[in-house]
Subunit: 326 residues, 2 copies
Amino acid sequence: MASKAKLRGGIDLGGTKIQAVVVDADSKVLGSARHPTPTTGGPAAVAAEMAGALNEALEDADADAAKLQGVGVGSPGDVDAKAGTVARAGNLPDWERPFELGKALSDALGTPIALGNDVGVATEAEFQLGSGDPYQSLIGVFWGTGVGGGIILDGKQWHGRGGAGEIGHVVVQEDGARCPCGRHGCMEAYAGRGAMEAKARKEHDDGRKTDLFKIMKKHDRVRLTSGIWQRALDADDKLAHELIDRAVDAIGTAVASVVNVLDVEAVIIGGGLGVRLGEPYAKKIEKRARKNLFNDSRPPDFRVASLGDFGGAIGAALLVDGARPS
Amino acid sequence: MASKAKLRGGIDLGGTKIQAVVVDADSKVLGSARHPTPTTGGPAAVAAEMAGALNEALEDADADAAKLQGVGVGSPGDVDAKAGTVARAGNLPDWERPFELGKALSDALGTPIALGNDVGVATEAEFQLGSGDPYQSLIGVFWGTGVGGGIILDGKQWHGRGGAGEIGHVVVQEDGARCPCGRHGCMEAYAGRGAMEAKARKEHDDGRKTDLFKIMKKHDRVRLTSGIWQRALDADDKLAHELIDRAVDAIGTAVASVVNVLDVEAVIIGGGLGVRLGEPYAKKIEKRARKNLFNDSRPPDFRVASLGDFGGAIGAALLVDGARPS
């Protein structure tokens, strides 16, 4: 049941899924819905699906749009919060030029829309409401299709000139493996689920034995999702273990580099794979990072993102005016 | 000639040399002196030599200690500014336990002493008075025996929990070359003058032809100083070129990683080797960094530290109360 207090909506726009939530004044999730991200129809189709997911979350919360103070959106790509546009949304179909996502959603939902960067809002959510709550400085590492990063210094997000936080493109091997970004040796080239899947396919095509793709088909998937990787690990698939261990090494190494430069209090591991693999793998990442922590007498705390799959959407809802705790 | 305005002293304590300056209210250098860092006698001998160097700088400025408002010191190791102590000063002899450097110098010079971290004060000097002046965010890369780093974000130094800025220990090769710090793959393992000298000696001992050590002896040195490297490059020594290029690649790669995370406006290249090799090598570092800059449409500016060898000492003088521009 929705309370009489004003509600906020939050939408996390991902390459695979759209997660929508409706939260109360304390950021408690009252309703939620998850839709697959449309792969055809361009930005307009994606916006329509986002509105659909939010309406379903409202139903789930037994509330109606009139009660919404506003809806926040965490989006990939180049987000211009003021203009209400999103451009170059990496994994999304036909989404190169700026699209007026704010206007499209506000027309569909009849409520103010606030746009933010997907990783930024997820970091903010963990910092304000999740595992990052005890700290004033931290990095968020969002391990999914790519590996995104968020930075909190002195209680505030650090954006640089707008492009900070690209922890997935911290180099772990000079002139190393080719990254989906086109450069070489980036952490994401070893640890991003996209790069891992490409590597697994290649090994499989080259005759390497693995059940990864069998499990994928059995579960009616076309990609190696986090759940598929988890199942392959549980089934002790050797290639899955190898590739995940390789990813853990790359993430741990990159995290150590960043901590050596920023000396933050905590490292929060989130994202689809990070949340799915959870504590045991956060421990492995910590162990690898410690090998390269310069200030090894005072390592940061390593924590799994506690808001789980909802973190991005809850963080998006924090974008709505007046949502931030005073 | 010293003006009537109050003067400040600054001392940059290095592993090889002690650089002292006397500056006026505008941080203009009125006098300077450079002494070799004592290799025996422990912290007390080092402190005595520091006082000697400052007195010589006072003579050079035609001023006396009574005119000094105070003396600032940039020191390696664990600096406790409040307690006036320095511990674990890496390259310095028998300097593990905390030594009351502030008291020793204040007794010898009869003036208040302010302690700071060597790389921190050098970064501050470049930011306030040098190449960093046009920017509000930058990283300083001090390429010398080791490779130190300083970070300015939003016009202020970022120290983290006290250990930030270790850009020399950003990893460039997972499980790569052993670093003087004992870990593997750090940038400094390829780019620090200490590591480069060890590598050159090994190659030479293994029969590799090089004039590096001939030039060193000719110039009456026992180490491969920045000047020796410069001369070997000028003489087109093949090994010298190889090792410097390898260092440039490592620095460029680490800088790219840090810029991908922080998106700062500028990268300032300083330190003994950085200043000595100057613009052409800063350009090479920039070129290498660009290969891995994620936001490649808006790279940071790359600049050589403009205060040169005096930067550390001038920055140290900024530590004296009231020296910072309001």
